[in-house]
Symmetry: C2
Subunit: 203 residues, 2 copies
């Protein structure tokens, strides 16, 4: 990778880091783009070459998209053949993504912190999830051979996104991410939904 590329990544990280740090220190309202750019030692104009908005610098690039390969496997009906189990696999892959695990974990924690302290970020964040949800719906539709706009796929995808949204809050952060614990939590969550809406039981 050339010098040019490395420098770009460096300033990108610098900008993002400065944005997050300053926002946590002073609150989003009391931080200007100019200050962020100054902290990263670039001009304010350059900030906007990297991020379209201040929010974008804070929320980072969209995670929540599964790897090419994992999506493929899911669509083909794998890896286990059981819908819920495979869905869980796909979701965990989407969340923990490809890269370094600890890094990803740190980002998630940071995002959580920011969202808690700066509710203004919520709309943008939800919009991201919404995009991810649509992709997931497409994958589910493909797997089950239904037309792409089948309402059931959208519905299942939406519920699945709710599940990860609410379940991931409970996954023990900290040292190293306990994937098995996450998997168990997800299983229970989906089970609850089945019970709530299923034929046989009602809460």
């Amino acid at each position: 990778m050339g010098l040019r590329e490395r420098k770009k990544q460096a300033t990108r990280r610098a900008l993002q880091g400065a944005a997050v740090r300053l926002t946590l220190e002073r609150g989003l309202e009391n931080v200007t783009v100019e200050e962020i750019a100054a902290a990263a030692e670039v001009s304010a104009r350059t900030f906007f070459n990297y991020f379209a908005t201040k929010e974008e610098a804070l929320l980072g690039d969209g995670p929540f998209t599964p790897g090419e390969h994992e999506r493929e496997v899911f669509v083909e009906g794998g890896p286990t053949g059981d819908f819920v189990e495979d869905l869980i696999d796909l979701l965990i892959d989407s969340l923990l993504g490809s890269g370094d695990l600890a890094t990803h974990q740190a980002e998630a924690a940071r995002r959580k912190e920011l969202l808690d302290r700066e509710p203004q970020l919520l709309p943008g964040f939800l919009a991201r999830l919404h995009r991810a949800e649509q992709e997931l719906a497409a994958a589910i539709a493909e797997r089950s051979g239904t037309p792409a706009d089948d309402i059931r796929s959208s519905l299942i995808a939406a519920s699945a996104m709710s599940v990860i949204r609410h379940t991931m809050k409970r996954v023990p952060y900290g040292d190293d991410p306990d994937i098995e614990a996450a998997r168990t939590l997800l299983r229970h969550a989906f089970r609850s939904l089945g019970e709530a809406f299923g034929r046989d039981e009602r809460p």
Copy 2:
């Protein structure tokens, strides 16, 4: 109601109307607050006395909250005792709200139109739904006697919101709203979820 109050409502409606009309005519990007204010025959500053942002004028006041009474009934375990049926009742009430039915219908159609044409409005809209979702979760928790932050309530609420989001697209708009049709669609939707996540069946 005094003259003062009536005038306020009038300008509010004028502003909102002008905002919607101009946006549908030219696209959100090509309409300034100044123009909206001018069309409503007030100053631009006054616009901001009524709405915090341009978006707010377009999306209107938050619907999606059930009536006081209906919420009460739901929390107490009514009206039928069947969880899903009662949930559907509550959702329909939230959507169609208290006021005039035709009016509400028109607003919904207008919102749909705006959201289709101006995707920038989506984040804000999703944030509203999110707020509604939290209220719904609280109601569900109350009804089932679980602690307010019980994960299952949040989960069910989230799925329910997904259901109405995706189902209401299919409800025939137009003449007068077919509530029975909506009810049936909702039943099917919840049934699909039960099947997708339930013990016995898998798609």
